[in-house]
């Protein structure tokens, strides 16, 4: 299955970004051992120059990681034709046990990358590279996750075997053998929607408190992460059903397609942006302990929280709008 253009593109992107991350991680080890801003030695100057290269390379690698997340989902959707029983991306990802882990790891890499880039941005606000050790230590954590993600993706693609006419002498090629399913496990609709409303409300309150008092940044970051998890469950179990107006269609990907007017983007873009900037708010408020950032980082944290709150508001609006607009009635007496 490797001779598929998009698979080649995905593997190229993940190979190059893995290479970049491994190189940067090796550099991170050197930097953590020898970084000394007060020294004027040649090694320190080389290290300082190298940081420019590493951050540029990482920015590129992480941007392409984000792009390849979307490409991965679309590729899965396009390949559904090749597998018996697969109707959309869910079916393709279920073809072998590596599909969904690959996707989840890609999402994890996306958020870790976003967090790292925001950390870098916060760091650049201080004059003395205050967070440089934190940043490069974080890289030592990010690089293995990205490598595992690339490896799982490769395994997934290597293990894909299309159900095609292989030999012209067999009697029956396909038959009714179900190779893959389109089912996804889901929570009850009422629970997931109620939980989403609750978590969103809590996040909103903590966010407003953070904006006003400048405290609770870490709590806000954690809540943003929980919004992501709960919202994804709610999308699979309830919101998707409203979008497709079919009680048994729980696909989180089909709504990204033209058939449904690309409404999925109205949900996922603000959701992902809100979570990413929410994490950024936490990171920025954490960075406030460094003296050279004590002025810049609370302001930055508030700005991140502001963007995050707005994004979650857009997400909530989109979700409510989709539910109101839908002709499907899941709960008698409500919308």
């Amino acid at each position: 299955m490797l001779f598929h253009p998009s698979i080649i593109a995905l593997l190229l992107a993940s190979a190059l970004s893995s290479l970049a991350l491994v190189g940067s991680a090796l550099f991170a080890v050197t930097l953590l051992r020898h970084w000394n801003l007060s020294s004027g030695s040649e090694r320190q100057i080389v290290l300082e120059q190298r940081t420019y290269l590493v951050t540029t390379v990482l920015k590129l690698a992480l941007i392409f990681e984000a792009g390849s997340l979307l490409l991965f989902v679309f590729n899965a959707d396009k390949m559904a034709k090749l597998f018996v029983g697969a109707m959309c991306a869910v079916g393709t990802l279920n073809v072998n046990p590596y599909g969904f882990p690959a996707l989840i790891l890609k999402i994890a890499v996306f958020f870790l990358s976003a967090a790292w880039l925001m950390l870098h941005h916060i760091d650049s606000q201080g004059y003395d590279y205050p967070l440089i050790r934190v940043k490069y230590a974080a890289l030592l954590f990010l690089a293995p996750v990205a490598l595992v993600s690339a490896f799982v993706q490769l395994t997934y693609f290597l293990d894909l075997k299309a159900d095609v006419l292989t030999s012209c002498c067999s009697t029956l090629f396909g038959g009714s053998t179900v190779v893959t399913t389109n089912n996804m496990g889901f929570a009850p609709e009422a629970w997931s929607l109620g939980g989403l409303a609750l978590v969103l409300a809590a996040t909103g309150l903590v966010g407003l408190w953070h904006l006003k008092r400048g405290r609770g940044g870490l709590a806000y970051a954690l809540l943003s992460l929980s919004v992501l998890v709960v919202a994804l469950i709610a999308i699979v179990s309830a919101i998707s059903v409203y979008v497709y107006e079919q009680p048994h269609h729980h696909c989180p990907f089909c709504m990204l397609k033209q058939e449904y007017g690309y409404v999925g983007y109205a949900l996922y873009l603000p959701l992902f942006l809100g979570t990413a900037t929410g994490i950024g708010a936490g990171l920025a408020s954490f960075a406030g302990r460094w003296p050279s950032l004590s002025l810049a980082s609370p302001a930055l944290s508030k700005r991140f929280a502001y963007v995050s709150l707005l994004s979650f508001l857009v997400f909530a609006g989109a979700a409510v709008g989709l539910i109101m607009k839908s002709h499907l009635i899941l709960f008698e007496g409500f919308a």
């Binding site: 001779f3 598929h4 253009p5 080649i8 190059l16 120059q49 540029t56 392409f64 009697t171 029956l172």
Partner: protein, 377 residues
């Protein structure tokens, strides 16, 4: 935010003017880059068009094709088997098909002879595809003669030339009457080439196929979905193969871009040195160089993609046609339906721009860390 945007805008302006100052060097890069994008995009666009064509063709095809097998080879299907098949529940329509291939020594090509299910031509008449019409110069009313199975001459008068939404399938088609067909090949009445069946419920197709396999163990059953999947993966495979062949070109291009980016002229080095001396930081130089790469790759991508679009949809992709379509004597003039797919554009962006960025990032950094006093001295 405003300051940030204004900074980027100023950098972009500076970049554009500095690109214009070194026209020759940048133009060469642009031409090569566009050529790479053009080749990759042509391959992707053309195979995508072929895939769509195949899907259109098979849309109305019957769900099941049943062939009789003898000794692992395709054999003629007796009428009695058709009656048995009709009893399988879920099958709504079943009929035997008559088709075969006919070699025409004059055109040096193979025709596909078929007996249509509806509106067959009158005895002695034939309906022909435009490929045959072109190869033999045959218009309605003209006569075409062929050797039948026993050596005798069989003459057909052209009743009509087919114009169809997909020329891919009908170009070499030769439609005749059932009696003429049996006379041409010497096939006795009551025997068919194979049979096709329609199944009303798409979810029962697999089950119906299983039942048929039980009822007629000496038959081969082909599902429409399988044909579709096979086409899909054959085209994917060909497309991928072409891309892998083109990776050599992409690699060469990456080396070329690396070379261009690292071989800074003395004048450029001096320029960077002066910029730094007047207060630019390493980050600014990096950003400017990144903008340069962005401008280059975006322009090259647009130019290459546009050329590929024209090449595929207006000229019929003469460069890649033989590889992607497969080979035959009588291929139709095939004008694919124009179509742009965002997913495909994204794939192409990764395949072309990513290698370029990867190749140039280190040279760009090398340029950005130049010490001003070193170059200006």
């Amino acid at each position: 935010m405003k300051i940030y945007l204004r900074r980027q805008l100023n950098l972009l302006e500076f970049t554009l003017s500095s690109l214009l100052r070194r026209k020759g060097k940048n133009l060469a890069l642009l031409v090569v880059f566009s050529a790479i994008v053009f080749m990759l995009a042509s391959a992707l666009l053309y195979s995508h068009a072929l895939r769509r064509e195949a899907a259109i063709l098979l849309k109305d095809a019957p769900e099941l094709v049943i062939q009789k097998m003898v000794g692992g080879r395709h054999d003629l299907l007796p009428q009695a088997n058709l009656a048995k098949l009709a009893e399988v529940r879920g099958i709504t329509q079943i009929h035997g098909r008559l088709w075969g291939y006919l070699f025409d020594p004059i055109a040096a090509a193979n025709y596909t002879v078929m007996v249509p299910q509806t509106n067959p031509p009158e005895p002695g008449f034939a309906i022909i595809g435009e490929g045959i019409s072109g190869a033999r110069g045959a218009e309605p009313g003209d006569q075409l003669s062929f050797k039948s199975h026993d050596g005798g001459l069989l003459t057909f008068r052209v009743a009509q030339v087919i114009a169809y939404e997909s020329a891919l399938a009908t170009s070499d088609l030769f439609l005749v009457n059932e009696d003429d067909y049996r006379r041409l090949y010497g096939i006795a009445p009551g025997l068919f080439t194979d049979a096709v069946a329609k199944v009303r419920n798409p979810r029962e197709v697999g089950k119906a196929a299983e039942k048929i396999a039980e009822l007629l163990p000496d038959s081969r059953i082909v599902l429409r979905d399988e044909i579709l999947r096979t086409y899909e993966s054959v085209f994917d495979w060909r497309e991928g193969l072409l891309l892998v062949l083109l990776t050599g070109a992409v690699l060469a291009f990456a080396i070329f871009a690396w070379e261009k980016a690292s071989g800074l002229s003395a004048e450029e080095r001096r320029e960077i040195g002066i910029l730094k001396a007047v207060g630019w930081e390493t980050g600014d130089i990096l950003l400017m160089k990144m903008w340069e790469g962005g401008v280059m790759s975006l322009s090259a991508f647009l130019i290459g993609y546009l050329l590929a679009y024209l090449h595929v949809f207006y000229l019929g992709a003469p460069l890649f046609e033989p590889v992607l379509k497969g080979w035959a004597t009588m291929y139709p003039a095939f004008r694919p339906t124009p179509f742009i797919d965002g997913f495909q554009v994204a794939t192409l962006l990764i395949l072309t721009v990513l290698p370029y960025l990867a190749a140039t990032v280190v040279p760009i950094w090398r340029a950005a860390i130049i010490d001003p006093d070193q170059v200006m001295r």
